[in-house]
Symmetry: C2
Subunit: 141 residues, 2 copies
DNA sequence: ATTGAAAGTGTGTAAATACACATCTATCCT
DNA sequence: AGGATAGATGTGTATTTACACACTTTCAAT
């Protein structure tokens, strides 16, 4: 690897991100869920009535990306969107079925999380998560 | 955000990864390069004659993903692939033009890298990179 | 020589991602 | 009321990513 690429913060994060995504996706695969979908269900579960713009900020995802990521969840009947009279923004919440799916996915998520912590050391994992989250909050201008 | 999603190592890494990807992509955009492509050019530059399998390991990328990621670089004439008689694997190297493109991209990459370090604190950035790289080396089984 | 395993390459399909552009909706100002 | 504006949604297009599957090539063993 070149000096630059070896030192590239971005490449390091992307590699790490791909690596752990594979781990979590593999654990969630039996339910036909990706970690991306699991994250969406979890966030919406915690904040029923959330708007897309907020979801986008939390996920650090483009609005349009989100729009298409939510579509299969809507189609599957796991989430529903409503818009109150006089409101512009749609709001999203889990359906009963969506809650069931998410609940059944939690143990699989937990297994992935524990595998990561066991393999990497719990403290390092927590530190890495904290720093990655902090980085997300940084405004590059 | 739900307790789970707030604590999810994977989501944190993915968010961080998306956030910094935007930063680097924005800096490289004037050259029509993505950080992914820049990384590929840099790695191939450093290790001329590299095989796809090795590239995949370094990038933590699926072979088929890599195959399609390399295609535009081949089309653009920035890299070339050859296969020696009696060898199964193609090997990749930069063309002169590819080297030129990469060289001209280095300052843009550096600007992104420096912006990140300035915004996040150089030490934290380096630590985060080191931990993300270490994580990549972990075998989850 | 044949075949069979291992290594490598390529394609179909689909999801995740984002930018540019267009459209729709609510509200505010006059 | 009518138009301007800001906020929100949706579409076209393209890249990135990966899984499943199929094909090809090399080489070793019989």
């Amino acid at each position: 690897m070149s000096e630059e690429s070896r030192q590239c913060h971005c490449l390091a994060l992307r590699r790490g991100s791909r690596h752990v995504t594979r781990l979590y996706d593999a654990h969630l695969a039996p339910l036909g869920l990706s970690i991306s979908q699991y994250s969406l269900l979890s966030i919406i579960n915690r904040r029923p009535g959330i708007r897309m713009a907020e979801l986008g900020e939390i996920m650090v995802m483009e609005r349009t990306t989100l729009l298409r990521a939510l579509k299969p969840l809507l189609t599957a009947g796991w989430i529903e969107s409503t818009r109150a009279k006089g409101e512009q923004a749609h709001t999203y919440r889990l359906t009963d079925e969506g809650r069931r799916v998410r609940d059944s996915a939690v143990p699989l998520w937990k297994a992935a999380q524990e595998t990561l912590e066991r393999s990497f050391e719990p403290e390092r994992a927590v530190d890495l998560r904290r720093e990655a989250l902090a980085l997300t909050k940084v405004d590059f201008g």
